[in-house]
Symmetry: C2
């Protein structure tokens, strides 16, 4: 039995009247009306009405369950139905796959299911146009990000996810047995991407990374997708500028190119105004003080503080120049050495990205490792590269899943990841 289609439903129209087409897709609805059956057929590109007549064809669709897969050879004709400008009169019908009812969730979303039920039946959940729209937006977001960074001279690289030493301090790493050695899953490409500026100057990576943290929030996953860049001869303000234009580009691109996805989701995506607010840490604690939230210099900002700052700076904003001691060992100090050349990109309380200028002097890095209670000897493999002509460099990591949550105006990152992983969820 042949299984191919000649046309995607989305490419058909009333102008093709009289044309023979072969379409295939999922049965969304079936209505008997006298001697005819009207079948609503959806593929990934669109939806159409199929008119079924004649004893053989009617026998084929009798008892056919919704979401079964059929292939139809037929003729395009005008439709008198209110919802369709054209329809397809079926010549032959092949049932390719029968859906077994009851289905675990209603893929049309008319009966709402909780997120756990939907994730447990994710493949079927994607037949819901709202869910499918999220992943079409995700594809387009990735396209736009890669194009933007490539146009800026960044090369895409792949760094290892199985690493031999616990980098960046080693907290919250998944560990695994690597033959007779101990290994870990990378939490970020931080050390690799810094090294790569020595040879490739500007690089980016988009990949899964792993954090063994028992967080039960709507914004943490144990396996997440990170977009990382690192650039030689750039200061932190330069890569901040790149991040800002990247985010603006993404919103502009999907605003213009993903009209039907916005409609499916019932949202309007609008390009954010640039420049984003740039708030130094010192300004931030002043602003919070005026709101009755007293903080000392050096205190970390908690969710409640970030929520308040989000109210004061709606939309995207940068929090910059953090106290050095709050930042990892590789972050560069400012002229005032209590401050750092660092920034977070925030959306309300949500941290989307963290970045900064990196130290490129290995002596300074060794001193900072000791200050932070880490052992420089464990980083010697990494630090060797800093003797080979390490350029000054800056970079950031951007959480794709969080960006997608903001873009789609959805709170829970589990909604924008096909098969999310959290401490409780390892299936499907």
């Amino acid at each position: 039995m042949d299984i191919q289609k000649t046309h995607n439903i989305g490419t058909l129209g009333p102008s093709m009247k009289g044309q023979k087409v072969t379409v295939a897709g999922w049965v969304e609805d079936l209505r008997e009306l006298g001697k005819l059956t009207f079948l609503t057929l959806r593929d990934v590109t669109g939806v159409s009405q199929i008119v079924v007549a004649g004893p053989d064809n009617l026998a084929q669709v009798k008892d056919l369950t919704r979401q079964s897969v059929v292939r139809i050879l037929g003729t395009v004709q005008e439709s008198k139905a209110r919802d369709f400008t054209f329809e397809i009169k079926a010549d032959t019908i092949d049932v390719l796959s029968r859906a077994v009812h009851p289905l675990p969730i209603d893929p049309l979303g008319r009966l709402e299911s909780g997120i756990d039920n939907r994730l447990n039946a994710r493949a079927l959940d994607l037949r819901n146009q709202k869910t499918a729209a999220i992943f079409k937006l995700r594809h387009n977001t990735l396209l736009c990000i890669r194009k933007t960074l490539t146009d800026l001279g960044f090369l895409e690289v792949n760094t290892p996810k199985i690493i031999g030493s616990a980098s960046e301090g080693g907290a919250n790493l998944f560990s695994l047995k690597y033959f007779d050695k101990q290994a870990y899953l990378a939490q970020s490409p931080q050390l690799y991407k810094e090294q790569l500026t020595l040879g490739l100057e500007r690089i980016f990576e988009i990949s899964s990374f792993y954090r063994a943290e028992k967080s039960h929030t709507v914004r943490h996953l144990t396996e997440f997708t990170s977009i990382d860049i690192e650039a030689a001869f750039m200061d932190y303000t330069d890569v901040m500028q790149i991040l800002e234009s990247l985010v603006v580009n993404v919103f502009e691109y999907v605003e213009k190119n993903c009209i039907s996805e916005q409609k499916s989701l019932g949202i309007e995506i609008k390009k954010p105004k640039a420049p984003f607010d740039r708030v130094t840490y010192t300004q931030a604690i002043e602003e919070l003080g005026k709101q009755g939230l007293e903080l000392q210099f050096g205190d970390d900002l908690l969710d409640s503080h970030l929520r308040k700052l989000g109210e004061l700076h709606p939309g995207f904003y940068f929090l910059t120049d953090w106290p050095l001691k709050l930042k990892p060992f590789y972050i560069h100090e400012k002229d005032d050495p209590s401050l750092s050349k660092s920034f977070d990109l925030q959306y309300g309380y949500l941290e989307l990205s963290s970045g900064g200028r990196r130290l490129h002097d290995p002596q300074k890095i060794r001193a900072r490792l000791v200050e932070q209670g880490l052992n420089p000897a464990q980083f010697e493999d990494h630090l060797r590269a800093f003797d080979w002509g390490m350029p000054p460099h800056s970079g950031w990591g951007l959480g794709l899943d969080r960006l997608m949550a903001v873009l789609t105006q959805i709170d829970n990152v589990r909604e924008v990841v096909l098969y999310p992983r959290d401490p409780e969820r390892l299936f499907p």
Copy 2:
């Protein structure tokens, strides 16, 4: 101290005579000549000659080691040197980073180092234009692959790499502790990508996957990059066609767009002739028999057989219609049920890709699991999705690292991976 540059060296030329520019890069050579020092400076885009004069500037470059990083504000002028059409007369010189000698390898490649030494100093190895060219080609290959698949209506997806059950039989999986559960690193996105055709029809993924196999060959890594597609309403011949045009597109794209990289590598990349030879398994054992290599139907093809077939079919060729019993449980049988709707894409003895039509009838899959000594109960989570309207579908996985080895005419896949992982290599 400022660290930015105004120009990439590759964008300069003799037509910019008299213009002030700031460049930055790595010192490749230093020659004193009377009261001048000539410095060869390279960034990722090109190489230029810097003329250094005057006591302050000469003091800056005195004792400067090769591969140190400098930033130069200067003026473009004509050059009388044989190798340069222009040069930069330095006004000011900042030394941004000093390289400490001796370096572990010669980054200019004049002294050849073994692959282990180069991999141990990978960041520095990338200053070798030959090595850098490989990763520029890899970036461009990825660009072209994503564009080709997107244009064909495929959506890029991210499937989980931490999986809860040992899919595809479970041999050679790395296992890890996932909080209080047992988990594994995915060897392929096979089961996920099949499920996703139910909602998204055509999907692809480009990601790292993991195989805990103690192989010590030039073509096996424990962490490798795989390009995977899966498409509803396509038979195996359809996705074979897509694979063929994808490979041809990649070669054509880099042939035209990566001229200087080919020069650096000393190779000429040529678009392969299509269609590729298509040799059925049955034909292959006949051809081998004529060459004195006797095989029975059902015997697997060993390296020696594939090498011989590679001689008979130079370049890319497909080996199709394998005995069903040699193929995984999810592969669809042909009308003759001893054969399967399957193919490998070969280049000589090297298997680049494996694919086929998949079973979409869950009863057939259960029967095949039993036949292969696997327990259907362990796959019930996966098989549930086949009751929700699973379309007929086909797909393939293509090893990016092997493809890059063929493209760059290099034998060892370790050369085309930045930080390769094999049973012995876990660092850097």
